[in-house]
């Protein structure tokens, strides 16, 4: 965990409002797992004031580079979208626990389910699972074909189904629709996306093994402010977990979504 002025190496728009940015810096050495995130200060002033949490989508240890994929939606990400290669970005990271790649052995089966801007962390996860010899399948959901991104990259790694809300690409509907009838018997599910998607997966696969990456509004990103808590399930004492430092990845069933 460190603070660093990372250098923007590449930056381009890859789908409607979606940007791909490659950042270089020493903090890459500290990254332990896919699903960890960085906490970005956009601009040097007080506007916007808070950092933005963004997942690490791909990791290149040799070049000390990471790729992030983000949607320019609000003030901070729109400002970020204006940046040019060569400029510097103030980053804290790596933060959070990330997905346990070692939950599966060679030959076991992993289903990776991503929705919208929940898709990015699954990319590095898939690469690392594949490297272990895990058999992977992807199901990715987007609003429309125009919003979809990285389908080719995911497809190059493993079989990839796509769902779009308007049906303009793949199955019409949500990721759960693309899953329906797919009798593939996975050993573990890894997912990241909107709360509604994660809840639907919990309902769909009760009692199965899985890991979900959650989102919550964050201030510190390091566990100090208690801004980003979620409740643990079935715990008698109403205990909470912090999404930033206990998460963002939790075992399916561990916390209330």
């Amino acid at each position: 965990m460190m603070q660093e002025q990372m250098v923007v190496k590449k930056h381009s728009s890859i789908a409607k409002d979606i940007y791909e940015m490659v950042l270089a810096g020493d903090l890459v050495r500290q990254i332990a797992r896919p699903g960890q995130f960085i906490h970005i200060k956009v601009g040097s002033g007080i506007d916007p004031l808070l950092r933005r949490p963004i997942s690490i989508a791909e990791l290149d240890r040799d070049r000390c580079e990471i790729t992030i994929l983000y949607r320019a939606q609000g003030k901070g990400t729109k400002m970020m979208a204006e940046m040019n290669p060569g400029e510097k970005l103030d980053v804290l990271g790596p933060l959070g626990n990330g997905f346990p790649v070692d939950a599966l052995r060679h030959g076991q089966k992993a289903l990776l389910v991503g929705g919208g801007i929940g898709v990015p962390p699954l990319y590095e996860l898939s690469k690392q699972l594949k490297a272990r010899g895990v058999e992977v399948r992807h199901v990715l959901g987007f609003e429309s074909a125009a919003h979809a991104f990285y389908i080719d990259q995911f497809s190059a790694l493993a079989p990839t189904s796509v769902a779009t809300v308007d049906g303009s690409r793949g199955t019409k509907g949500f990721v759960t629709d693309a899953l329906a009838g797919d009798g593939w018997n996975f050993d573990c599910i890894y997912a990241c996306g909107p709360a509604a998607m994660l809840r639907a997966l919990e309902t769909e696969y009760p009692g199965r093994r899985g890991f979900f990456s959650l989102e919550e509004r964050m201030a510190c990103g390091i566990g100090a402010c208690y801004g980003c808590v979620c409740r643990t399930k079935n715990s008698p004492d109403n205990a909470t977990k912090k999404v930033c430092s206990d998460g963002p990845v939790f075992e399916m069933g561990e916390v209330l979504i």
Binding site: Q3, L50, R51, A219, G221, I222, A224, Y226, C228, N238
Partner: protein, 306 residues
């Protein structure tokens, strides 16, 4: 050589900079970033008698030059704080100011009596100004009579000096300050957050699950400066100032206004190293201003013309 030391009731501070309560947990997270012994003091997160689980998320909303929070005093409760958190902080050479909260006077008295016995707790900070809990909290901070009463009772049990944290959400901050001074407070800390709100453009609903929250950050600095300026001219006890501090220059503005030391809250979230950076920068700014002892700044906005 510049002299950053400040002497306050119960507190011999190496320098006037400390993290504000609720913005630094119990120090564990930031101890991974720097040696906590560099700090003037640490104001730990509010402690209540029983554990509190706080409000539902979302608890955080960003605003222009500020943020809203509605944590709701989440904390593991007195017993765990005494057993697990305070001992951890004993590894550092830094005085702890224990922020105390509750729903009833009895709660405050109970927590104060116990936590003031911890060896590294050098002072208490009574949080009578939290806008994010349903009962207690802010009601004590907005009613001078209750504020007086609470302070007086806590003073009878506390083994360390008692500071009272004032709420800015009042018509007459001087009246509350005078009441707690009369109740025996050894010092004041101010300000807590302003009571604010943000609505979501799409749904029209409050962004925070708790609906309203506490506004902190640079946006509130002018209100903090004004209140410290007013109060410091009307009370004799020292003030620890806070509200939007981001730089060494901000620290000096608070001292000018009448604070004797300062706390940094929201800025920790943006720059984990903000406190040590400010402390390192202070001597440089003091030299530019031709000031040798940090205490010389205190109250300059009014004292030099009094």
């Amino acid at each position: 050589m510049t002299d950053l030391r400040v002497e306050l009731p119960g507190l011999s501070l190496k320098n006037p900079v400390m993290p504000a309560s609720g913005c630094f947990g119990y120090g564990r997270e930031y101890s991974q970033w720097y040696d906590l012994s560099e700090l003037g003091a640490i104001m730990i997160k509010a402690t209540t008698k029983e554990p509190r689980f706080g409000n539902q998320p979302p608890r955080i909303a960003e605003t222009e030059a500020g943020m809203l929070n509605a944590i709701g005093l989440q904390n593991p409760g007195l017993e765990k704080v005494m057993a697990e958190e305070l001992p951890f902080l004993e590894y550092y050479d830094v005085p702890i100011i224990a922020n105390v909260a509750g729903s009833t006077i009895e709660d405050y008295v109970y927590v104060s009596e116990h936590i003031s016995k911890a060896p590294n707790v050098h002072a208490l900070e009574l949080n009578i100004s939290c806008p994010n809990v349903k009962s207690g909290g802010i009601t004590f901070g907005t009613d001078p009579v209750m504020a007086y009463e609470l302070t007086r009772k806590v003073k009878t049990v506390s083994e360390v000096p008692v500071y009272v944290k004032l709420s800015p959400n009042v018509t007459d901050i001087v009246a509350v300050a005078k009441a707690v001074e009369a109740g025996g407070a050894d010092g004041l800390t101010m300000i807590n957050t302003l009571f604010g709100m943000k609505l979501d453009l799409k749904t029209g609903r409050p962004v925070l699950a708790n609906e309203t929250g506490g506004l902190s950050g640079p946006a509130i600095k002018p209100v903090a400066i004004r209140m410290i300026y007013q109060v410091s001219q009307q009370v004799k006890v020292p003030i620890i100032g806070m509200g939007g501090i981001q730089t060494a220059e901000d620290v000096i503005e608070f001292l000018y206004a009448g604070a004797s030391a300062v706390a940094v809250g929201t800025a920790n979230f943006i720059e984990p190293l903000i406190c040590p950076r400010i402390i390192q920068k202070l001597p440089e700014v003091m030299e530019q201003l031709g000031v040798k002892k940090i205490t010389e700044f205190v109250g300059r906005s009014h004292k030099q013309y009094a």
